[in-house]
């Protein structure tokens, strides 16, 4: 057996992954019970739309920092990056850095103007001095496309993970996630969603830290000794770049999607409305960047720890994608109980991200499309809240159905799709409407529509879909991620169309927007 050559510890050969795990169940039900208690508490405080969408703007900077980190650190980063590092070495670390560098961009360009100019969605900011209806329809298009592809990725990932961890069927797992998520969002709104994120961020950071410390304790608390053990067993190649960045254009394109996509993710942007003012928004990104960076530094240790202590062959044997590296490492170091704990943390992680995504999608449907387009901004508070809850249920059902439909699909391309759409549809329109006084309604709307359509089209024509999934010989478009083309295209469209359609009233309106952006009123 190959496993024996790699010399893994005995525990890895007899993994209990895939069997119902009592500890995982116990932790999972404890998490569900605690979060439902939070939801009950939050539901009594959720009477207005401001409370439903923005937690009454009472979340502190520190709390929002944890919630932002919770929203962002999905199971993909915890399981996926640990898996990539454990099977490819250095190449996995390219993702660890890539997922973090979007945060400074959010801080420098987006967070404070967004808080000062908007109410519930980023479309509030874009529409601040432009025409309401076209801007909101364009914004909702990009938001819903982003949210739906992100949701599919999370749901499909959840189904697979939970089936492996708990031994229940894929469909049951998806419906369980859907039901719990709907309970949080429907009754507890943003208050419950925020606290679920905070609890999840604590669990994920705590679990990963304990795991990393257990790994390091085997190597005299010296990461370099751990890397050296990996290099001496699997060759110095694991510390050097390999085949992942074989085509530089692909790497730059993915990098652009990650860097500018973060600043266009609707569930992240919505978080800035939950804090009292722009200074709190600023401080919360600072905390979030610290927490997320710390988490990604730990993925160095977790990934190489799994490589040395579990072994790449064992990891690939359990899951071809390497996604079970962190749970396997937990089992090796802490036995079945620790495996159960890490499994429950991963489940909580997915559940919380799904809740945040659903709420932001519901806000686009109800606040942007229904209230501000269909009803022309005239809807009673009661009606707004009812519509928001109906939209939440619709999105929850859609998420469950899509999760079941896309069973067994490769989910990686959907996450890259979500980031590419966010970076191409939302980010250029948002930045230009905030910072460029000559941007106009036709310019911004054409950028949002073209950004969405072009990224969807180019992903469909990319090798990921054409070659990997549809099994065609070649792909029309060479890049796996379209951001390198679609982000400049979207900026260029906004600028050219704006210059061709100058508007004196929209230009004059910029003075008010500029004042509000800085002073908040």
């Amino acid at each position: 057996m190959i496993i024996l050559q790699a010399g893994p510890p005995a525990a890895a050969q007899a993994t209990r992954i895939g069997e119902p795990n009592a500890v995982a169940m116990a932790f999972f039900f404890a998490f569900i019970a605690a979060t439902l208690a939070i939801t009950y508490w939050a539901a009594r405080r959720t009477r207005t739309t401001e409370e439903y969408y923005a937690a009454g703007r009472t979340i502190s900077a520190g709390q929002n920092g944890f919630a932002l980190a919770g929203d962002y650190m999905s199971a993909a980063s915890f399981l996926g990056i640990a898996g990539l590092v454990s099977t490819t070495g250095f190449d996995g670390l390219i993702y660890s850095t890539g997922w973090l560098v979007g945060w400074p961009v959010v801080l420098f360009l987006i967070a404070e103007p967004l808080r000062n100019l908007g109410k519930y969605t980023f479309a509030d900011v874009v529409a601040a001095r432009l025409q309401q209806a076209p801007v909101r329809i364009g914004a909702a298009l990009g938001t819903l496309a982003t949210v739906i592809f992100y949701l599919i990725a999370q749901m499909v990932g959840a189904g697979g993970l939970i089936r492996l961890m708990f031994g229940i069927t894929y469909e049951t797992a998806i419906m369980l996630v859907g039901a719990a998520m709907l309970a949080y969002v429907l009754f507890g709104g943003m208050i419950a969603t925020t606290w679920v994120q905070i609890v999840k961020a604590f669990l994920l950071l705590g679990g990963a830290t304990i795991l990393a410390l257990l790994v390091l304790s085997r190597f005299g608390f010296n990461p370099v000794a751990l890397f050296n053990a990996a290099a001496s067993r699997y060759g110095e190649g694991v510390l050097a770049p390999g085949g992942l960045v074989s085509t530089p254009l692909d790497a730059v394109s993915l990098g652009m999607a990650l860097m500018f996509g973060t600043a266009g993710l609707p569930h992240i942007l919505m978080r800035f409305y939950t804090v009292p003012d722009a200074k709190a928004a600023r401080t919360s990104v600072f905390y979030a960047t610290g927490l997320i960076g710390f988490f990604y530094l730990m993925t160095f240790v977790l990934g190489f720890g799994a490589m040395v202590l579990v072994g790449p062959d064992v990891i690939r044997g359990v899951d071809a994608g390497g996604n079970m590296a962190a749970p396997l490492l937990a089992e090796t170091l802490g036995g079945t109980p620790f495996l159960g704990f890490i499994g429950a943390v991963a489940f909580a992680t997915i559940l919380a991200v799904v809740a945040g995504l659903t709420l932001s999608g519901a806000a686009a449907l109800s606040h942007d499309l229904w209230v501000n387009v269909a009803r022309g901004g005239h809807a009673t508070p009661g009606e707004q809240l009812r519509v928001a809850r109906v939209a939440t249920v619709i999105l929850g059902v859609v998420a469950v159905l899509l999760g079941i439909t896309f069973k067994g699909q490769n989910v990686a391309y959907m996450v890259s799709l979500a980031f590419a759409i966010a970076a191409s549809a939302t980010f250029p329109a948002l930045v230009l409407s905030i910072f460029w006084r000559r941007s106009t309604t036709p310019g911004v709307v054409s950028s949002m529509v073209l950004g969405t359509v072009s990224s969807l089209t180019l992903i469909y024509l990319s090798p990921t879909i054409q070659v990997d999934i549809l099994k065609h010989e070649s792909a029309w478009f060479p890049l796996r991620n379209p951001a390198l083309v679609t982000i400049p295209l979207s900026f260029l469209t906004a600028i050219v169309v704006s210059v061709l359609t100058p508007s004196a009233s929209e230009l004059a309106g910029y003075a008010r927007v500029e004042r509000e952006m800085h002073t908040g009123h």
Binding site: V101, W103, F108, K279, T289, L297
Partner: protein
């Protein structure tokens, strides 16, 4: 109401905007002070954004075009690539820290002065 903003606070740049009417309009004058701050914030924001882009894409391009350098070992167990990867994360922290410090110390203070100047 007296002109709330001392005239000496304005440089030549202040009244060039296309919607400012007259220098004696106090609302416009306050906005012009704000515009100057807005331009300053934009310069800081775009410089720091360019710095993040340079750091991250510098890292990616080194991986793409100079794999042997990234794979060379500083000490056994520590390659240049791993060290630079960790430094990208540290650089991200430092840049966000720098911006927050600048905003807390300079931007907020200037904004406070503009707000105060707005009240009689």
């Amino acid at each position: 109401m007296p002109d709330p903003v001392p005239a000496h606070r304005f440089g030549a740049l202040v009244f060039q905007s296309d919607y400012c009417l007259t220098p004696t309009d106090s609302v416009t004058a306050r906005d012009s002070d704000l515009q100057r701050l807005a331009r300053r914030r934009w310069r800081v924001a775009i410089t720091l954004t360019a710095a993040v882009i340079a750091v991250y894409f510098g890292f990616i391009l080194l991986i793409a075009f100079n794999k042997p350098f990234m794979g060379s070992l500083i000490t056994p167990g520590l390659s240049v690539g791993i060290l630079l990867g960790a430094l990208v994360i540290v650089a991200t922290w430092l840049l966000t820290w720098y911006y927050v410090r600048w905003a807390n110390e300079h931007y907020d203070r200037a904004l406070d002065e503009i707000r105060k100047a707005g009240r009689p």
